[in-house]
């Protein structure tokens, strides 16, 4: 079985700098390097390193409490990591150390956008307004930091029309044109999820981080989500990093998968590699490595990839 070699590879990897990470994506947009996050005495994330390939959809999976959202919060500037580096390199070559940027600059300068596990829309504002808020930076500049805007100068009006056109296109893509002027809080759950993704995309991100985008969706909505994510990757060239529990989503659309357990990375590879990784299976089934074979046999997993 290839699992054994996979295991040793992972073990040796731990002590090497991530640049030497074999099998990783050739052109990473994001390099997470020895990331550690402690809350008081609790180590939520311990020395995690991985890469997100440019133009890839990378999934971050792991059992509940594995530290996935903490990794996300470190990447998107909500937490300052205790140790480690998070490097983002844009296509033009500018590199940002995300852990050093003030929270909002992670989006404004480094162009990393995110969504939240428990949706965070602006519920009283309309769908269109939600998207316009996401275009704050270009619009602020066009409105001369409000001075030109207050006076109603034409330059701002043009910029606003462009922004509305862009928002309208996204509203169309997520199929909400008929409800564009309704408060976002009135939308059904699935629509809110898609709107949050569209809002993040309106900031023109190079990396989009999605925290459990399929949570609470029905199978049809999940399928729609897959289509939307592929569109984002293929048409907009935006790299995607997502946390997900729904394996049908993860296995279908991910180019790479990183698995965390108890704050430590236990596997990193293509969906096929991950599917066959004993440590991953053990983590998900909650048993020791030695028992995996027994459990696999029990649940009939061994047969599927024999």
């Amino acid at each position: 079985m290839s699992d054994a070699t996979g295991l040793t590879r992972l073990a040796t990897l731990k002590d090497e700098p991530p640049a030497a990470m074999p099998g990783g994506p050739a052109d990473p947009i994001l390099v997470v390097d020895h990331l550690t996050m402690r809350f008081g005495g609790l180590t939520a994330v311990g020395d995690v390193s991985f890469k997100v390939g440019r133009g890839d959809i990378t999934a971050l999976i792991g059992p509940n409490g594995a530290g996935k959202t903490t990794v996300f919060n470190c990447i998107t500037g909500f937490y300052k990591p205790t140790e480690g580096m998070i490097r983002l390199r844009q296509r033009e070559g500018e590199t940002y150390l995300l852990e050093r940027l003030p929270g909002h600059d992670v989006n404004r300068l480094a162009r990393v956008a995110r969504t939240f596990q428990n949706i965070r829309l602006f519920p009283q504002m309309t769908v269109l307004e939600n998207l316009l808020v996401a275009m704050h930076k270009p619009l602020m500049r066009a409105s001369g930091f409000s001075l030109a805007g207050i006076l109603g100068l034409p330059g701002y009006r043009r910029a606003q029309d462009e922004a509305i056109a862009k928002a309208a296109a996204w509203i169309e893509r997520i199929g909400l044109t008929h409800r564009a002027d309704e408060p976002a809080g009135d939308l059904p759950y699935g629509d809110q999820r898609r709107l949050e993704i569209a809002r993040a995309m309106c900031t023109d991100p190079v990396l989009l981080c999605l925290d459990e985008p399929a949570a609470g969706l029905n199978p049809r909505e999940s399928a729609d989500l897959n289509t939307l994510l592929r569109l984002i990757r293929d048409e907009f060239g935006t790299s995607v990093l997502l946390i997900e529990h729904d394996m049908s989503v993860v296995m279908q659309i991910s180019d790479r998968i990183v698995v965390l357990d108890y704050g430590i990375k236990i596997a990193d590879g293509t969906p096929d590699q991950i599917r066959n990784d004993t440590r991953v299976i053990a983590a998900y089934l909650g048993v020791d490595d030695e028992e995996v074979a027994a459990v696999e046999a029990e649940v009939g997993l061994a047969g599927t990839h024999a």
């Binding site: 809350f39 959202t69 919060n73 909500f78 939240f116």
Partner: protein, 305 residues
């Protein structure tokens, strides 16, 4: 040195009163995360209740035993103020659970305005003086020039505060109510699922807070011998400062904060300028909130994303 010692005693006395009020702030904040802005006015109201019962007992019923009068006034004020606390929570705060974030604070400001003006309307705007109940002092130290004294009033205030704190500490740490209260602080929904009557626990918290404010109110009347409808605001803000300084949500912190504020205020007035003593308290509030919002004994808050 003698001057310092005297001021120290005065500061501790004042601090005891602040600490008692601060407990009300800190408990309510601990359990529902709300700044009970009206608490200072509840304190003022309790002082009026104590005042009226003091007059009934002394002028109408002609009681002369100081200890008896003090005890009855204290208990009656605690009971009636607790009723106010209960009613306020019921009417103005309970319907707001699940409303938007600032709703309880705005409602509390409304209650605060209502209470002070209510007392003004029913009792008039003038200061209400009472004849001093106890005048005796204990001379602790004397050297010809200076005397350091501890008045009976101060002794009563410190003793009452200490006794009540001990009883209160027992209540919160050792009884099922205390457990329920701490459970509600941690996770209200989970507490409800485990069969804790959350509404009643919160109600009781307000009742206890108000009763402690009533103790403070009675002692305040005893100490200063005068009260007016506008006396709730400034002590209220100072007690809140004490709660924040000690670490809001922490009971020992509230008392500690109260003592510190009392001492700072007394020393500030004694050594710098009495005009700016309130400025000192407000400055402390601002500085603590900006630089150490978790206070001395509080736990730092982790932002949930």
């Amino acid at each position: 040195m003698e001057f310092f010692a005297q001021q120290f005693i005065n500061g501790l006395t004042l601090g005891s009163i602040y600490g008692l009020i601060a407990l009300g702030y800190t408990m309510v904040f601990g359990i529902i995360g709300m700044v009970n802005f009206a608490h200072g006015d509840v304190f003022m109201l309790s002082s009026f209740i104590a005042l009226i019962f003091f007059l009934i007992l002394t002028t109408w019923l002609g009681l002369t035993s100081v200890a008896l009068v003090f005890l009855i006034v204290l208990i009656v004020a605690m009971v009636l103020t607790a009723l106010w606390g209960w009613a306020i929570e019921r009417v103005a705060y309970r319907p707001l659970r699940g409303s938007f974030r600032l709703a309880p604070l705005i409602s509390a400001i409304g209650v605060s305005i209502f209470l002070s003006n209510f007392v003004q309307v029913v009792q008039g705007a003038r200061n209400k003086p009472v004849p001093p109940l106890v005048r005796d002092v204990i001379v602790l130290y004397e050297n010809g020039q200076y005397t350091v004294t501890l008045s009976y009033k101060q002794a009563i205030i410190m003793t009452t505060t200490a006794l009540l704190l001990a009883g209160f500490w027992y209540l919160v740490q050792r009884t099922s109510f205390g457990r329920a209260q701490r459970a509600c602080e941690q996770d209200r929904r989970m507490a409800a699922l485990l069969g804790i009557n959350v509404d009643r626990t919160i109600s009781l918290t307000f009742v206890l807070g108000a009763a402690l404010a009533a103790v403070a109110g009675t002692l305040y009347l005893l100490y200063y011998g005068v009260v007016s409808f506008s006396d709730g605001f400034v002590p209220g803000v100072k007690a809140f400062t004490a709660a924040v300084l000690g670490g809001i949500g922490s009971l020992p912190g509230a008392v500690l904060g109260g003592l510190i504020i009392g001492l700072i205020e007394t020393f500030w007035s004694a050594y710098f300028s009495i005009e700016y003593k309130d400025v000192a308290a407000f400055l402390i509030l601002i500085v603590v909130l900006i630089f150490k919002p978790s206070g001395i004994l509080g736990r730092p808050e982790v932002e949930k994303v």
